[in-house]
């Protein structure tokens, strides 16, 4: 099984340690991982802003780079969801589309494909899960709070494999943090208000860290925490899962 690692643009530039942790963890689990060069962005930023046609060449480029792998794995639920849900439509009649079926968020991949049951790390901290919207409602990483379906959380399942970690979740367990891509700069006041409340509800759990499968949400919350001098740390789920590697 050959895996193509997709490290989305903002993770590449701002959170390279998340990419590193993903790579190390997959390697540790015996997966054959490749990181093809010349990958950039999935195209979600412009698409959500209303310019999805500008994402088409990026989608085609993404296809060219990743189509040969068995799975494409990314440490970013929202980007994975964008590829999965939108590429077939964007590329229709323009380019073959294989990556939609192969695309997986790393947590989804660890949980559903590798079915990881044991991890070596220790992380003796209390962490609050940030259930990001696209992770929950598009990739089904956990059961959305609105639906009457059996409760599950793949993130919680994975974190429970790490020794020492205490996992909590905030009130309004999967309410949006207000990032929303360009929403964050088009509606900055609402975005920051949503983020501030989200941050406070995470802090109220007594957690030392906010963790989640989407560094984009975490980047937004971290920006607010820094501005307001709020004492909480941020860490991607995969960094906790790779603790000690």
């Amino acid at each position: 099984m050959q895996i193509g690692l997709f490290v989305p643009c903002y993770v590449d530039a701002v959170f390279p340690e998340v990419g590193v942790a993903t790579y190390k963890l997959l390697k540790y689990l015996g997966v054959n991982v490749d990181y093809p060069m010349k990958q950039t962005c999935c195209g979600q930023p412009m698409a959500n802003a209303g310019f999805e046609q500008k994402a088409v060449p990026l989608a085609a480029h993404f296809e060219d780079i990743f189509q040969g792998y068995d799975y494409v794995v990314a440490p970013s639920a929202s980007c994975a969801a964008f590829v999965k849900l939108n590429y077939p439509r964007l590329l229709e009649g323009k380019h073959a589309c294989q990556t939609s079926d192969k695309m997986m968020d790393v947590c989804e991949f660890l949980h559903d494909v590798l079915k990881v049951e044991k991890l070596p790390g220790v992380f003796p901290h209390k962490v609050s899960i940030h259930n990001s919207c696209h992770g929950v409602r598009e990739l089904h990483l956990s059961s959305p709070s609105e639906l009457n379906i059996p409760r599950f959380s793949k993130i919680r399942d994975l974190l429970s494999l790490v020794e020492g970690v205490t996992v909590v979740e905030p009130e309004r367990i999967d309410e949006c943090c207000g990032f929303g891509g360009m929403f964050s700069i088009e509606e900055p006041e609402v975005s920051v208000q949503m983020g501030t409340e989200k941050l406070d509800s995470h802090i109220a759990t007594g957690a030392e860290y906010i963790t989640g499968p989407d560094s984009s949400c975490l980047m937004h919350l971290q920006g607010i925490a820094r501005r307001q001098n709020k004492p909480i740390e941020f860490i991607h789920v995969v960094q906790i899962l790779a603790a000690g590697l």
Binding site: D12, V14, V20, N48, R137, N148, F183
Partner: protein, 455 residues
């Protein structure tokens, strides 16, 4: 880079306690909805059925409307057809004229809001009295509803107390909700007793029987129609459903979704006029039959008008109903506004973080967020796209389309970290309004990979 919604939301949020009050009040309704939804094992099955029934009905609307109208006529009801708001208003006025009616009592109807019926009638000398408590409060204040189910949700009790003191002569300083409701009861009882006609909306029109079904908690639709000799129903053509078996599905979903109640207090079936009285139904199109032709948006016609999408919407709860430029706010309102006129109502399309929560609460399973995403794609073609967003998107397309340039960008990005604050946090930096910028890594992942550090 800001729409009318952005600006109105920003102004709304300046009053922190009011903003918090609204968010809490409405979230409380979402929680009540969750609680009753989780109590029914068949909840998701009901939503799926409701969606399927609506898909079927809306795509066979001609058949069901004809059946409905013919049944109603068999029952002695007079059925009118109105192509648009003006025709609807004129029909209602003509009926009132024919009966010499001067005072009209109304139960809540978003359709009459859509048609601006009240002003039309008031200008012609009709005394129009809203009888839902929330609607009556707003009518006395001369403002519009801020929510389709809880129209006065944005008001504090003190505001209502002051209003009633001025308009209805209630005790000065008394803003106890029970007291104020009693004052309204007495006031409205007199209006019901002296009304010449009653007008209701319709939650459902049952094709098989001709019944108009109206759901209220206050009983005001029933009071409005039990006393005056004339009952007029304003009904959107999409409100027709096949039969009682379908109705059972919808009545189980409606109140649970709207307010978290297992049922509204009153679910009234109006089939015939009272002896010696008249009942009229005005079937209103006003753009609905055009929506049917829109492959991406016809499913908005499935809407039950329960308001659940507003209650769950994190943007609605933090910006309030008045921040939207269309009279129906929230996710469904964004879509309905665009269907009414993309040029006039494109300012609401920014009011969505694409969190998709609305899709999950909708009892008719309308793909609300996908539709909002799709409207955004069309803004540029009608010259309503934000120029700054367009520049950023074009820039990103260019940057990401040229990996060499992208790698160069990554290399120099860390320099941004060291720029002085007054340059970074200028007025064009919307991110910086309430957030620190992220710190670019000294070495990007791709650079580390190239240098073999990762492996």
């Amino acid at each position: 880079m800001s729409t009318k919604h952005t600006k109105a939301a920003s102004a709304f949020l300046l009053n922190k306690s009011r903003a918090q009050f609204l968010n809490q009040s409405i979230w409380y309704v979402r929680e009540k909805r969750d609680k009753v939804a989780m109590q029914l094992a068949e909840w998701e099955e009901l939503r799926e059925l409701s969606s399927s029934i609506k898909c079927h009905t809306v795509t066979h609307l001609d058949t069901y409307l004809e059946q409905f109208a013919s049944q109603a006529e068999t029952n002695g009801v007079i059925v009118h057809w109105a192509k648009d708001a003006n025709e609807h208003n004129k029909i209602v006025y003509d009926i009132l004229q024919q009966h010499g009616a001067k005072k009209l009592v109304k139960s809540k109807s978003m359709l009459t809001e859509e048609c601006h019926l009240n002003n039309y009638l008031i200008n012609k000398g009709i005394d129009v009295v809203e009888t839902d408590l929330g609607e009556r409060i707003l009518q006395l204040m001369q403002v519009a509803p801020s929510h389709i189910v809880m129209p006065a949700i944005h008001l504090k009790r003190q505001q209502v107390g002051k209003l009633f003191e001025d308009k209805l002569g209630s005790e000065p300083g008394n803003s106890d909700p029970t007291y104020l409701t009693r004052v309204a009861r007495l006031h409205l009882r007199n209006e019901f007793m002296t009304a010449d006609a009653g007008l209701t909306g319709a939650n459902f029109g049952v094709a098989a029987t001709g019944d108009v079904v109206v759901c209220t908690n206050e009983g005001n639709a029933d009071m409005s129609t039990s006393l005056p000799p004339l009952h007029i129903v304003s009904m959107g053509i999409e409100k027709v459903i096949p039969d009682y078996r379908s109705l059972a599905v919808f009545t189980r979903l409606l109140a649970r979704s709207a307010t978290g109640q297992p049922s509204t207090t009153y679910t009234s079936h109006f089939r015939k006029a009272r002896p010696g009285c008249e009942m009229h139904i005005v079937l209103v199109d006003n753009g609905r039959s055009d929506i049917l032709a829109n492959p991406q948006h016809w499913e908005t016609l499935k809407c039950l008008r329960c308001g659940a999408c507003m209650n769950t919407c994190p943007v609605y709860r933090r910006s309030g109903g008045y921040s939207y430029t269309y009279f129906i706010p929230g996710p469904i309102g964004i879509n309905l506004g665009m269907l009414r006129s993309p040029r006039a109502y494109s300012d609401n399309v920014s009011a969505c973080s694409l969190c998709c929560s609305c899709d999950n609460v909708c009892p008719a399973k309308i793909n609300l967020s996908e539709q909002i995403y799709s409207w955004r794609q069309g803004l540029d073609a009608i010259h309503k796209a934000d120029p700054m967003k367009k520049i950023i998107s074009s820039g990103l397309k260019y940057l990401y389309g040229h990996p060499t340039l992208y790698y160069m960008g990554l290399k120099y990005a860390p320099l941004i970290n060291r720029l002085p604050r007054n340059i970074l946090y200028n007025r064009l930096n919307a991110w910086g309004k309430g957030r620190e910028l992220p710190t670019f890594a000294r070495k990007s992942f791709s650079e580390m990979w190239k240098k073999g550090i990762v492996r």
